[in-house]
Symmetry: C2
Subunit: 676 residues, 2 copies
């Protein structure tokens, strides 16, 4: 840079952002753009080798902006830039490397999306949420003075190079990487690429110029772990892998794992090791599937419910098993992956664990806040994540509330006569055909309804899962076979051939599939008691929702988002019929899939979102249902079925969608599923 | 504190420091003294339980200071203080707890040494250097609000307690301690003692009130490891343990270890593990010897030469084996002890590794700077640490220089016909008795000279060590049996009965002990070639010293300090006779023993000394002898023996000190010894 030029100012306009301002002439377009707040990508540090900082120079008179942008207003390409252009077929009359082109006068510059340091990544089809790729880690290529006699040490020369070439000072090196620094400098012939975490600490050192970094976002569910391997330069998902949580062997549900940790001397350590091994295995598998070296995984984000969160950190979850349900820590935790036992990622990498909200509302819910952003909306959103406990978030930009309702495991098929998880063979849909008095069902793993197909060709049912039972209860109610109290009406057996007295001779049950249809050789039935279990579960959930609505001071919600696997399976209409969720325009009730996993990916891609998650988690007011004065009252009231006769008259007698096989939500089967 | 009082000022005088000033009335003496820069110890945080903050209130009229100090100028003791006084037999009319007594008027307060936060610890008898006990770790007792329903997490409440009770904010918790936090809070009934590192990070959590913390300072020598376990509250050494460096099996000297690391695929890792295991074992042994729990070792300081420094950090020392002798890092390193593999200390503890000065001048020399402080002196000090290489520090407060001279292993007895290390049986002293033509020697492990005792009772010699050979050469020279070139004079065999022709018939040797005296059954001799080896070694050392003196621009030094084991064994007179060190008034030539170990202990006791060491290490100018233009010239010149005839006439013909058995330096055998 010529020092004479340095006091002359010229006007720089950056499109498409429209940012503009006066900047010192003589500096590179890259530096000038950064001053105006437009971050242009660069890895090679201005050596005209990475090509990340490509810009287009627009020439002409721009009257709106009052400038003339001329060819001569940028310094002509020198040898390195010409070499790069030749090698990569770049037309230098249109495009320039912004690290090379220096301003000599006013200029209008177009910065393509691909050159922006913070690219926008569209999260998913159904959403308009865009995430800027701005991870907690960045790459920094430097050339270092060779070692000389009587000279300074390698690390001191690296610090000097970083300061001179990247204007970054006070960077630290993870001390376990000193051995690597020495060898990388020599392998790279005094050129290395550093990976910097939080602009403060060098966590990886590679010889020469490197343009690879990936991250791993894992949703640690009680039942399933799902991991996304993400390219941290482009934001793209490279691979997704899931597996069953190996802790399942120590207890199906959370509370049995808490008690395993208490009763077995080595219980906590075993569960900790098991889940970390699973995360390691997932990372190894995911990396191998795209030929990525594990050392290229330089950042990790973990989310999970509070019990998983604690076990991940090696904290005994016992306190979460009883009042006052105290978390050991709720703030986000940055911990060296190696300190967790995560050995399948880069040695210096950190794992970021999202914050918890309260004793029963975990980091997975903080991730849901990131993915769904109800806290940024004017409208009142209800987000429900149903598992053994249902976590409820309710509110808008003015106030967010959360609660956890003890729904019990009925929605997961437990404590139901023929209940089972939503695995292939489970009845997940159910209709009563009033015209012919027939029953129709659909099982997981088969797109067709039972009436549409020959019994021989169909996947035979083995039981009934949560969404199936909800539809059974809903249909029985719509067809007035049960009343608002959930009891079969008097002489119900005479109203429909599938209804019969139970062997006790006092209560009824309804046959969903008879022994000839099932793979078990027995009838699959839903009993009076099964209906009672569902009423208890939905009563608990609805009471929690009502409690939050009361606290918030609203008697309606604008949107309902059903998160998690169960939320993806249930039909919102039937959820409303049985009073699982409050009334809401059906178009505003959506299943948002693995929202926690999406949130984990967002936290991986964007460092600022981690602060957002922390602030959001802190600002959420937690309401403990166990001590809320109205909860029991709401619970008792919510046991009954709502006045659906008035609200869903169109449902009575509807037929199953014979002519439109398949599910309402076409993308469901391709979604990653999460279970509580 | 009454808010009305808070604007009234009173005068506080603190003895014996004499610090005084006006402070706000109403506050505790503890807080007021801190404002005046007098740190009073406190662990319990003002709960009147630890008694660390005891002060004496002096009453009367102090005309010199213009104040009257009255009983009524301190608030009377309340219930807690009275309870403490009763329990501990404290006379409250004289002594008060400064965390309890509040100022109501002018007061003169005596702060006993034991209540000062920074106690002075005398380093060693021979030195006036005092070190303030102000370690990098401190204890902090807090009481934390119990967990409640809908309350915040444990860690957030701990942060609040630290902020309220200690006015410290932004403290972090080592995330591996979250499991410990939860259990300690409950075990301690919501009272815990934190150990804080660098006023920033909690590295240990203990339930209840705890008043224990220790540190471990280790000098990792090539041959010997010496570890000091130190009480970090009092500064006292609790235990000292040493052991042979297990790396010796991979090579006696440094260069053979460097080459082991190169030639063996697992060589570096093996040496790293071996030395870390040794440090672990030392810490375990030292802690066990004083019944200290390993978890109470909360800080570690390590020093060593550059090769040991690198191997400790897992860095390949190969670069130190050849030009340009580049260090991977010279700045001090703070690394989690667990990341080094140091498992025998508290889980969250850091290890601080002192800075290196240059490729051949290591962290042990930085420690020597701390212990000897030549850089703070007006006088010119020469510090020499002799091993296979001799490290030389020369200078004063205006400028410090360092160099490493390739003395080779002759001073350690290698490459000498009957040479050996300074272990029991080695001849370490030697005199020629001109009167009777006899030879007298003294061996390591026996305080008596050979002439004083019956041969049967004596420890028979097995060989000769460095200090012995130096005295042999010196005596031969004083008695004119060899000339300035180091050659035996013509017809030397006729001048003394112990001198004889070697079997080659051309060169001479001198018999130091004959076959009847030795335990080997052979004569122990010093040959013409042995003398040549010593000349080469001392020439290299002296040339290095001359080089630094030339660079410094001086032809004299004011003091000479001989560091390390060899420096403790050699007699400064003979060192000067043969020209090992420059001329200096003998009274100013001292053996400073394991100065590196002392420096390590200083760095452990005083966090500020770590910065001093870094600044001192950075400011030292390193002179590479390999490229210094005058080094070869100086080396050749220094091969000759100096004109000792003129300088040490009193030495010719002196007798061994028959009547004063034992060594000149009485404390030598009790010193911890270090071998380069």
């Amino acid at each position: 840079m010529s020092h004479q030029d340095s006091t002359i100012l010229c006007r720089l306009i950056l499109m498409p952002s429209g940012r503009q301002g006066k900047v010192e002439c003589g500096q590179t377009v890259l530096d000038a753009a950064r001053q105006l707040g437009v971050g242009i990508e660069s890895i090679c540090g201005g050596r005209q080798t990475c090509g990340k900082c490509l810009i287009a120079h627009e020439t002409g008179i721009f009257q709106k902006h009052g400038i003339e942008s001329k060819n001569s207003h940028l310094t002509p390409p020198e040898a390195e830039e010409q070499a790069y252009a030749e090698e990569h077929g770049l037309d230098l009359s249109k495009y320039r490397l912004s690290c090379s082109a220096r301003l000599k006068g006013d200029a209008l510059i177009f910065v393509p999306e691909s050159s922006l340091a913070r690219k926008q990544v569209i999260r998913k089809e159904a959403s308009d949420l865009q995430i800027a790729v701005n991870p907690a880690v960045r790459l920094m290529y430097i050339t270092v003075e060779p070692a000389i006699l009587e000279g300074t040490a390698d690390w001191e020369r690296v610090q000097r190079a970083v300061s001179n070439q990247w204007h970054a000072s006070d960077i630290q090196l993870d001390p376990v990487l000193f051995p690597r620094l020495q060898s990388a400098l020599r392998q790279g012939n005094w050129a290395i690429t550093l990976t910097l975490w939080n602009n403060a600490e060098v966590i990886r050192i590679e010889p020469g110029y490197v343009e690879r970094m990936a991250g791993f976002a894992v949703d640690v569910g009680s039942t399933t772990l799902a991991g996304h391997l993400v390219d941290l330069l482009t934001g793209q998902v490279l691979a997704t892998r899931s597996m069953m949580n190996p802790q399942v062997r120590y207890g199906e549900d959370l509370m049995s794992r808490v008690s395993y940790g208490i009763t077995e001397p080595e219980g906590l350590a075993r569960m900790h090791r098991a889940v970390l091994k699973a995360v390691n295995d997932l990372a190894v598998e995911a990396a191998a599937s795209v030929d990525l070296h594990q050392d290229d995984i330089v950042d990790v984000v973990l989310v999970g419910n509070t019990v998983m969160h604690h076990i991940l950190l090696g904290i005994d979850p016992v306190e979460l098993g009883g009042a006052p349900f105290a978390l050991a820590v709720s703030d986000p935790v940055d911990i060296k992956a190696r300190d967790l036992g995560l050995t399948s990622v880069s040695k210096g990498a950190y794992a970021h664990i999202l914050p918890c909200i309260a004793g029963h509302v975990g980091a997975d819910n903080a991730a849901v806040l990131l993915a769904e952003q109800p806290q940024l909306d004017d409208q009142i959103t209800l987000v429900v994540d149903i598992g053994t406990n249902a976590e409820i978030l309710l509110g808008n930009r003015t106030r967010m509330l959360s609660a956890s309702s003890p729904t019990g495991p009925a929605f997961e098929g437990a404590q139901i006569t023929h209940g089972q998880r939503a695995t292939p063979g489970a009845i997940e849909r159910f209709r009563i055909d009033t015209g012919q008095g027939q029953m129709h069902y659909k099982v997981v793993g088969d797109q067709r309804w039972s009436g549409e197909i020959d019994a021989d060709q169909s996947l035979k049912p083995t039981g009934i899962c949560g969404s199936g039972i909800i539809e059974v209860v809903g249909e029985l109610f719509i067809h007035r076979l049960i009343d608002r109290s959930g009891r079969f009406v008097k002489d119900a057996e005479s109203l429909h051939p599938a209804v019969r007295l139970q062997p006790n001779g006092r209560t009824y049950e309804v046959v969903i599939a008879d022994s000839e249809q099932t793979s078990t050789g027995h009838d699959i039935v839903v009993t009076q008691n099964d209906i009672r279990q569902i009423q208890l579960a939905k009563g608990a959930l609805y009471a929690g929702i009502r409690l939050l609505m009361e606290r918030f001071g609203t008697d309606r919600v604008d949107r309902i988002k059903l998160a998690g696997a169960f939320g993806s399976y249930i039909d919102p209409t039937y959820a409303m019929v049985i009073g699982l969720i409050p009334d809401c325009d059906l178009i505003n009730v959506t299943a948002v899939g693995n929202s926690a996993g999406d949130g984990a990916r967002i936290a991986l891609l964007n460092a600022e979102s981690r602060k957002e998650a922390q602030e959001a988690a802190r600002s959420v007011e937690y309401v403990e249902t166990a001590i809320a004065p109205h909860f029991q009252e709401f619970f008792v009231a919510a046991m009954a079925l709502p006045h659906a006769e008035d609200k869903f008259p169109h449902l009575a007698g509807i037929l199953p969608p014979r002519n439109s096989p398949g599910d309402r939500r076409k993308d469901r089967s391709s979604r990653s599923r999460r279970t509580g």
